[in-house]
Amino acid sequence: MFFLRICMMAIRGLQANLLRSLLATLGVIIGVSAVVSAMSILEGANRDILERFESMGADQIMVVNGSSQRQSRHTVLPSLTPEDAEALEELSLVKAVAPEVQAPAQIKYFRKNRNVTILGTTEAYAQINDYKAAAGQFITHEEVRAERKVCVLGHKVAKELFGEATAVGYRVKIRGMPFHVVGVMEKKGFLGFREVDNQVVVPLPTAMKRMFGLRNVTMITVQAKRQDLLEACIQQVKRTLRNQHSIRAGSDDDFIVFTQEQAKEQLADITKIFAVVLYSIAGISLVVGGIGIMNIMLVSVTERTREIGVRIAVGATRFDILRQFLIEAGIISLLGGVLGVLLGLAFTDLLENITRVLHTYTPSSSIYWALIMATAVGVLSGIYPAFRASRLDPVEALRYE
């Protein structure tokens, strides 16, 4: 009850000087809104990326070209081949293998055309990613082996070119070459980092030999038989690939193997760096905000010297005065914190609506922390002004003009 009364007293004091109180807390408002919006963007991006990793499946092993040895002086030539994929298929712990190449290309149906990603792969791709055809079917083993010029359209591609009409059985041109549409895929959004709805799948050898003239694949996705055998499976894959590439003992791999789990860990590391940078900026802006509050509180103490004298004369103890100014500083900065959170949320919302790609997410804990930090900054920067107020000599304070 007593505390409430003091708070009311402080709020009235601030009301009387609303504009100044707002200016005092401007630093906190800006600091908090920056933190909240940056947090929201970071957390949103983080979740987006995580979701894509999740879509990769926990039982998958990704193999890409490159050397894990960072010091490697010469650029690593692509080394993975379709034969590697075939060799991996033989392994005891491997359930399925999908090698792939990808390249951008234009697809045309009569007068309509569209830029898409061409994915050359095998029938295993759909199975591993649990990616189903909405009409017709995915490419088959026979079509892959026979290097047929068939294609499967992603959901968006089919819609753009054919509208609601059926695409299966029709002929489209990719890079000027005629292809038979054998299937249209379900709507899926993202698989890994690829927007599969805007993708056209063709048999791997068709893409490599007939379309792009490639000798190496860009990636091989391996599905382990059981998730708990993932580690053992990775060892099998590595051994086999080293064998295939005739790498001598002691030399480095010319490929990189990673799993969803490892990718997530790396992401967490990157997020941590961002977070450190973010919190440093937040810290600096809050310190600046604190200085603003201290400044205004010092002015306020000077201006209200007489009032302080009166309060002491009617029985306020030094501690009462100290507490009053601390509470005022705390309330100012809490107010700044609340305004900052609102501003930050509004900014985040605006950003999401303008860009339409950026997904943001504001963890409620970040709001609590922003408010707690803002209040703490206010109280801390109020200590010195409040202390000055509490040490005033009542006789002099009452005479102060």
Partner: protein
């Protein structure tokens, strides 16, 4: 109620020392109406600050209702100011941004009193401002503001009220009304110490203490003889003032 012995207050002023109060022995009984008068710099304000527990003496003793004030801690002094003493100042010293009611309630808040609003309202009624509780000081006349200040001084029902030039910022008619408020408080048993340099105001008290250079030079109970003497002094003073203004 008040008993001092060789009460002194020194202020260092550069190399020298100002004896604002120089060995004052004083007794004020319960229920007295005393005025303290003297020219500016005579020490009357310092005396009030010491007696009002706003500062401590450099030397000497001060007993307030049997308690030794000169030995008290800050916290104990604050408690005495809060419960047993009320102050009324020349410039009212109200907090401008809050209502009359909230101004009056300030001592109650520091005294951790319940029902502060009701008590504050009844104090305002006592000084005849029952209809002005919601007004801010800026919306009140000088006399009304001083009444609010008096209400604040009496809200904790203290036994002693110090008034420092309470009519100094008011016209004479309003000043008289304020003095009337003090008279009625006095009639209710409150001890009143009125500090003023205006003879006419000082004459309202039962006892007049005259100070000069930090000492009490005269301490007389008001009787008709003194009243006449003072009136004459007052007329002379105002005559001198008119003369002065003419010369100026």
């Amino acid at each position: 109620m008040i008993r001092t012995h060789q009460l002194s207050r020194l202020y260092p002023m550069g190399d020298s020392v100002v004896r604002a109060l120089d060995g004052v022995d004083l007794f004020i009984g319960r229920g007295e109406f005393v005025s303290v008068t003297g020219p500016s710099g005579s020490g009357k304000s310092t005396l009030m600050h010491l007696l009002g527990c706003l500062e401590r003496p450099t030397s000497g003793t001060y007993e307030f209702e049997g308690r030794l004030v000169h030995r008290m801690t800050d916290r104990q002094l604050a408690a005495i100011r809060n419960r047993d003493i009320g102050f009324v100042f020349q410039t009212f010293n109200l907090i401008n941004r809050t209502s009359a009611l909230d101004n009056v309630a300030v001592p109650l808040i520091y005294g951790r009193k319940r029902n502060a609003r009701a008590a504050a309202r009844s104090a305002l009624e006592k000084v005849g401002l029952g209809n002005r509780v919601r007004h801010n000081p800026g919306e009140l006349s000088g006399g009304e503001r001083q009444r609010v200040a008096i209400a604040r001084a009496i809200v904790n029902n203290p036994g002693l009220i110090f008034a420092d030039e309470p009519t100094g910022n008011l016209d004479s008619q309003t000043g008289e009304q304020i003095i009337d408020v003090f008279h009625s408080l006095h009639a209710g048993g409150v001890t009143i110490v009125l500090v003023t340099h205006e003879m006419e105001v000082a004459m309202q008290a039962q006892r007049i203490i005259r100070m000069k250079d930090g000492r009490i030079v005269e301490d007389r109970v008001m009787d008709d003889a003194l009243r006449g003497e003072l009136r004459q002094l007052g007329e002379q003073a105002s005559g001198a003032a008119t003369l002065g203004s003419r010369v100026g």
